[in-house]
């Protein structure tokens, strides 16, 4: 097993999960369980392919992916913060809207419900081959990765700085921790929640753009295949902390890439394909257990002999 190729595969598989996880994390800190990440990713992937096909250049495609995801996130904000819909119900509604809406456009406008595959599609910037050869093992693993992989890696410290080192981040966290206390401190709760959803949309848009623009250059219905929900699991696993969430995402990416390599051996495919999900269950169990241990009251001994 080649270490560099494994690392490259881990990076590639972790990136959409990491971005989805950060998208879910930023809303979790504002006390919103964002199940709509999946739908925002799907809509962004479609926008990237559709606009890339129409305009023939990469940057409009990339930007439109972000814009579409942010617009969807603000639709969710409107439904929940203005009209007081339940976050989970409205979030699932956004997912259905994205899945049905993309299929509808494929059928009515492109006349091909099976998918959208432009004959030529503009390439997004990838790290050129050979440019990082001075860095052993890690360098070659990064070569050929898209610019979105780098953005995802930079997004981890950025979200950390935003949440913990800026006044706006502190207000956002306060709005999530205790609404009444935050309101009495003069923080506009709805604005903070809408902001967290907008950032979430931006990150989910990046995730969708990565799926569509990195290697595939086409759109298929349901091509996100649950990555948004795996990201949500990674966030819960990481307890809403940026570093732990990133670590959890890489863990899932690692098990995915490892599973791909294990398929060469005569292990039943069902077991190998189970790996990332088994990792998720073990991880979540461990996270709950840690919280339980931390919150357990000191034991009072009856019999101090």
């Amino acid at each position: 097993m080649n270490l560099t190729s494994l690392l490259a595969a881990v990076l590639e598989q972790s990136t959409p999960i990491l971005l989805a996880a950060l998208a879910a994390m930023i809303t979790l800190r504002a006390n919103i369980l964002n199940v709509a990440v999946e739908g925002m990713m799907l809509a962004a992937a479609f926008a990237a392919v559709a606009v890339g096909d129409w305009s023939g250049s990469a940057w409009p495609a990339f930007l439109s992916a972000l814009v579409v995801a942010v617009v969807l996130s603000q639709l969710l904000a409107l439904l929940t913060l203005r009209f007081f819909a339940d976050f989970i119900v409205a979030g699932l509604g956004i997912n259905l809207l994205a899945a049905g809406g993309t299929l509808f456009i494929l059928e009515r406008y492109y006349n091909s419900p099976g998918g959208l595959r432009p004959i030529a599609f503009p390439d997004i910037w990838h790290i050129p081959a050979g440019s990082l050869s001075w860095l052993p093992v890690l360098g070659p693993a990064f070569e050929g990765q898209s610019v979105i992989v780098l953005i995802a890696l930079v997004a981890v410290p950025l979200t950390y700085v935003f949440l913990y080192k800026t006044p706006l981040g502190a207000s956002l966290r306060a709005a999530g921790e205790d609404e009444h206390a935050a309101r009495s401190a003069g923080i506009r709760i709805a604005a903070m929640k809408a902001l967290s959803l907008a950032i979430s949309g931006l990150l989910a848009g990046l995730a969708g753009a990565q799926l569509a623009m990195d290697k595939l250059h086409f759109f298929l219905p349901d091509m996100t295949s649950g990555r948004g929900f795996i990201g949500l699991a990674a966030t819960l696993f990481g307890g809403g902390q940026p570093w732990m969430t990133a670590a959890a995402s890489f863990l899932f990416g690692f098990f995915g890439a490892l599973g791909d390599r294990l398929q060469v051996f005569a292990i039943p495919s069902q077991f190998v394909l189970m790996l990332p999900y088994v990792a998720a269950i073990i991880g979540l169990t461990f996270a709950r257990w840690r919280i339980l241990v931390r919150n357990r009251p000191a034991r009072i001994r009856d019999n101090p002999q």
Binding site: N2, S5, A9, E12, Q13, P16, G100, F104, L106, E107, N111, S112, P113, G114, G115, R117, L211, K215, L216, H217, F218, L220, P221, D222, M223, S225, G256, A257, D260, R261, Q263, V264, S269, Q270, L273
Partner: protein
């Protein structure tokens, strides 16, 4: 949801018109296809549609009732509506419809049904299946030749290594895989065939990753058995500068330098053939008809740019042996 309601209404309206116009075409032959999916997949359904289009040119009245793949109730409604109307000489239906047809067909003993890509034992149902293992057998033979023949296939390493990337571990997929392995082994007995599963039929990114992994492990030719996600397999092989074999429709055009051939089920041919046989009164209802290499129900279409004539001759020799019955291709259906 509203979309499917609109569709049902449109169909109801269409059927209503059909009823009013009934007497004018009752004497003619007519065929309706109750679908569990939409057209436009560049594969199975579009292929089926070509068969109806051919029949229509010869004066058969045809209608294709599309339905959303996520709306099983509509499939059933459409099947019941066309059965109750009694306007159609024959009702075609296909994948995912087994239980529906098993309920509806006995209630309409005078209605004739053709059930393709699956089997149902009823006196008024003609079942049609495809020997995908025979088509894959040829793909395996071609893949083995391409992997070991560096002269004609410059992108290969010459090592006897090939791979199948498949959607899910289902009987019909295993049938593809068994035929592929057997075909490869008849040409190169010690060939290494990696068998890899994606776990579903729409995760193209995972299909892409798995294809790259298979190629890093030495595979020279990757066989796509993954439906829509297969586009990721073809892209992965093209980006790695290796060869791929497509499935369901002629996929050579997608990556003309990398896709050497495609295994196709000639669903359209079989449908046209069935309509002709029913018109002539030759169809054997209550029985199963298998379309394989011998009656052009499955086949391998080459990318003429990449596969030279002498290689085609070798593969066609293997085909002749299957057609003559000299070789029996392994199957997952016993």
């Amino acid at each position: 949801m509203t979309r499917s309601i609109m569709k049902s209404m449109a169909y109801a309206a269409a059927l209503g018109l059909g009823l009013m116009a009934g007497p004018t075409f009752a004497a003619d032959f007519s065929a309706v296809y109750v679908m569990s999916d939409n057209l436009g997949d560049m594969g199975f359904n579009d292929n089926a549609a070509t068969g109806f289009a051919r029949a229509e040119k010869e004066g058969v009245k045809t209608r294709l009732l599309q339905a959303s793949p996520t709306d099983p109730q509509l499939w059933r409604q459409n099947l019941e509506a066309v059965s109750n109307s009694g306007d159609w000489s024959v009702v075609f239906t296909g994948p995912n419809m087994h239980d529906n047809l098993a309920d509806v067909a006995p209630q309409h003993p005078d209605q004739k049904y053709v059930f393709f890509d699956d089997e149902l034992k009823q006196p008024n149902v003609l079942s049609v299946k495809y020997a995908q293992n025979e088509g894959s057998y040829l793909a395996g033979a071609l893949a083995a030749i391409a992997a070991t023949d560096k002269k004609d296939f410059p992108l290969t390493s010459g090592d006897p290594k090939i791979a199948v990337v498949a959607g899910m571990d289902l009987p019909v997929i295993q049938d593809f895989i068994l035929g592929f392995k057997q075909g490869a082994k008849t040409v190169v007995p010690d060939i290494d065939v990696q068998v890899i599963f994606i776990g579903n039929f729409n995760d193209a990114q995972k299909a892409y990753d798995l294809t790259k992994t298979a190629i890093q492990n030495g595979a020279n030719v990757v066989f796509n058995v993954a439906g829509p996600a297969g586009l990721g397999i073809l892209k992965g092989a093209a980006d790695s500068k290796k060869y791929a074999i497509g499935v369901d429709s002629d996929q050579s055009g997608l990556h003309p330098d990398n896709v050497i051939a495609s295994v196709i089920k000639q669903i359209g041919n079989s449908i046209y053939d069935s309509i002709k046989q029913i018109q002539d009164g030759k169809a054997e209802f209550g029985k199963l008809k298998v379309y394989g290499l011998a009656n052009e129900g499955v086949g391998l279409v080459y990318n003429d740019k990449l596969v030279p004539a002498d290689i085609k001759a070798k593969v066609d020799a293997a085909k002749a042996k299957v057609v003559s019955g000299e070789i029996k291709v392994d199957t997952a259906f016993k």
